[in-house]
Symmetry: C2
Subunit: 406 residues, 2 copies
């Protein structure tokens, strides 16, 4: 894409009401627009990143048998009443409104209830199970405070998957497959090395849960890790009993700051019982279905990755989710034809290139390139031409080379 | 995809509270799930159709220079107050709620105001224009009645494009490009021949507008057409003056029932003035920006296409947006290995195949195939094998042939 055509511009300063590093960088570089606290629109560059993250997650969910669907934002009060979760004292992030035709309607902060209720149309016999479904959809949550940029939104993109299984054995098998699948997602997103799975209490609604936590300087959570032994423990459950069970001493653990990048819940048969989702077993008896729920906050992940991979100059995107592979900078009009030719060649080859063909100074182009954070920068200039080719530099390295082949 | 793995099932009856033909067929075939009146979830087959329609629209918007973005559902009251459209007496389909942090928030029924306000960050000089942006996003509208299935939803998918131009001349040029682009969309969706553009009054908010209307038996609108002369007139503006202006007599016009499949609005500079979007002209004076808005109801279109292309047995998808190209039916276990081999070969070749490998009777498979409406049906059976190959039949034709090559 020619940068002269891109309608967004970089800016020197983030909005004064923005305190989160991730949002500051994403706004300054033109990836997102802040509509209000915790509510961000995705601009062309940001949408490219968002779609790449979604595609990676989609491929891994498909690989374990997930079928993609797309539920609705408007939700029925009576469904959530059946599970007590309509009550604002129990779920304190609801947005609700009145229907013109009468009655209240809820706006999706989660989808367990509607999906599970829908499954009553499709599950009747043991032959119908297992079923694994997932979706990408925005969630709306009426958060009192939303000061962490994309890390805690009032409106945010999420991948949520749901598993419906015959019994605990099948459920556990898939639950473990989902864990492996999540690890692949984090690997592909470039944060696999620093992401740990921790056991967590299930909270009010689930039997138990696991969290995926990524080490990050300003993380809001604390976990204790031993990398060698592959052990990670949530601060909330670090006690003598846990240490004994894991056969590890406190001294072997290192305290690190983390942020949650995914969580998976075991609902057991509780929700199926509440909503009336059962199947007829081989013996003709009705059996409630085992439910698991598997979340990844897609836009939150983008926020985390930006915070984790950035420096004073801007963002440093991991290659798999960068908006473009190459940032091509044309520094002067003399060599503009060379830059044009190179750009057209790369596009023909199917490479993803942002081509800075704007009539602005070299300093501005370099600064914008560092801020936008595309992994590889290629410079076409008189100086580089005299040196025998193009300048090439990785965003995360200092070394600049001359090359004739990009 | 193997149909035995698809979690949705066809059903003989639609829900008793569903009166719209499009929703009845889509629910019975397993494309959508009805969450409540006017609110439908998209199941795997439905999501495939939705994504194909979106991709066609996306390509045509990109072709005229559109840049895709993704705005937010949560919207600020103060923006809509500036244009008087926060008022429920002026816009009567708002969903609104209270923010926990104080104040009201609106749920997107449209996006002109937030996008136009956002553009103040990116438009300052005449050099920044023109800008064309578009998005696919669900709109939420608090409709009193929602009885037309996907044709009139409380929550529905829309493509909305916005043009920001220097002046009326540039605006008109793009407005006309958008008309041509829309025609291409309808052609590719298989309804081009029966879709007409009509001039319409702009309503309270715009200078004027055009509608795209598609001929359909149970359409809610009436237009008068002369196909030979390429003239179409909305019933509301059919009068002596219009006839005289168009140099046509009432007798030359045929009355047809239609449904709207797109509309484009000229806002002039009104909204830019209200929201303070201007640029500095070459003479250093501030000039308000010309705004156009271009909508296609994506899910509505799917509803219309289903109503238009169906028979007593089910849906008849146009080829470009069918969930799969081929519906492969294996009728008996003797030839199941032949069917498996054919399926695997087709998948290797990159063909999109729904493979009915379920252990159900031939009658059920044929009925489901007609209901689901994939354009080409291929049958593998002992009978077909004895006749020298596979049976092949187009959904919209009666003729069955034997073929050895699919």
């Amino acid at each position: 894409m020619r940068q002269s055509q891109l309608f967004t511009k970089t800016r020197k300063e983030a909005p004064s009401d923005e305190s989160a590093l991730n949002a500051k960088l994403l706004i300054r570089a033109g990836y997102v627009h802040k509509e209000m606290a915790g509510v961000y629109a995705f601009l062309p560059l940001g949408l490219r990143v968002l779609n790449k993250v979604k595609q990676i997650v989609r491929e891994e969910m498909d690989n374990i048998g997930g079928q993609e669907l797309f539920m609705t934002t408007l939700q029925r009060k009576e469904l959530w009443e059946k599970t007590t979760r309509w009550d604002d004292k129990i779920v304190d992030v609801w947005f609700k409104s009145e229907l013109k035709s009468g009655g209240e309607v809820g706006f999706a902060w989660s989808h367990e209830e509607p999906i599970t209720d829908m499954m009553r149309s499709f599950i009747s016999s043991f032959r119908d199970l297992p079923i694994f479904v997932y979706q990408f959809q925005n969630k709306l949550r009426n958060e009192l405070r939303a000061k962490s940029g994309l890390m805690r939104g009032r409106e945010f993109g999420m991948k949520d998957m749901y598993s419906y299984c015959l019994n605990e054995e099948d459920h556990t098998k898939f639950y473990n497959q989902a864990i492996e699948s999540y690890k692949k997602v984090y690997d592909r997103l470039g944060i696999g090395e620093d992401t740990y799975i921790t056991f967590a209490s299930g909270g009010a609604f689930t039997e138990f849960s696991h969290e995926f936590q990524t080490v990050i300087e300003n993380g809001e959570d604390t976990i204790f890790i031993n990398k060698g032994k592959g052990i990670a423990i949530n601060a909330e459950i670090l006690n003598e009993e846990t240490l004994k069970n894991l056969n590890i001493s406190r001294e072997e653990l290192t305290e690190v700051k983390t942020s949650e990048v995914g969580n998976i819940f075991n609902f057991g048969v509780k929700k199926s019982e509440e909503l009336g989702l059962s199947y007829m077993g081989e013996d003709g008896k009705k059996v409630p279905v085992w439910l698991g729920s598997y979340g990844i906050g897609i836009t939150r992940l983008i926020g985390l990755i930006v915070e984790k991979f950035s420096d004073s100059k801007g963002i440093i995107w991991p290659e798999n989710i960068a908006p473009f592979e190459l940032h091509l900078l044309s520094l002067d009009l003399d060599t503009r034809p060379d830059a044009d030719t190179l750009y057209e060649k790369l596009v023909r080859e199917g490479r993803e290139v942002l081509y800075d063909d704007r009539d602005v100074g070299a300093g501005e182009k370099f600064a914008d390139s560092d801020l936008i954070g595309i992994p590889t920068r290629v410079v076409v200039s008189k100086k580089a031409k005299a040196a025998g080719g193009f300048e090439i530099k990785k965003r995360k390295k200092e070394k600049v080379s001359i090359t004739t082949d990009v």
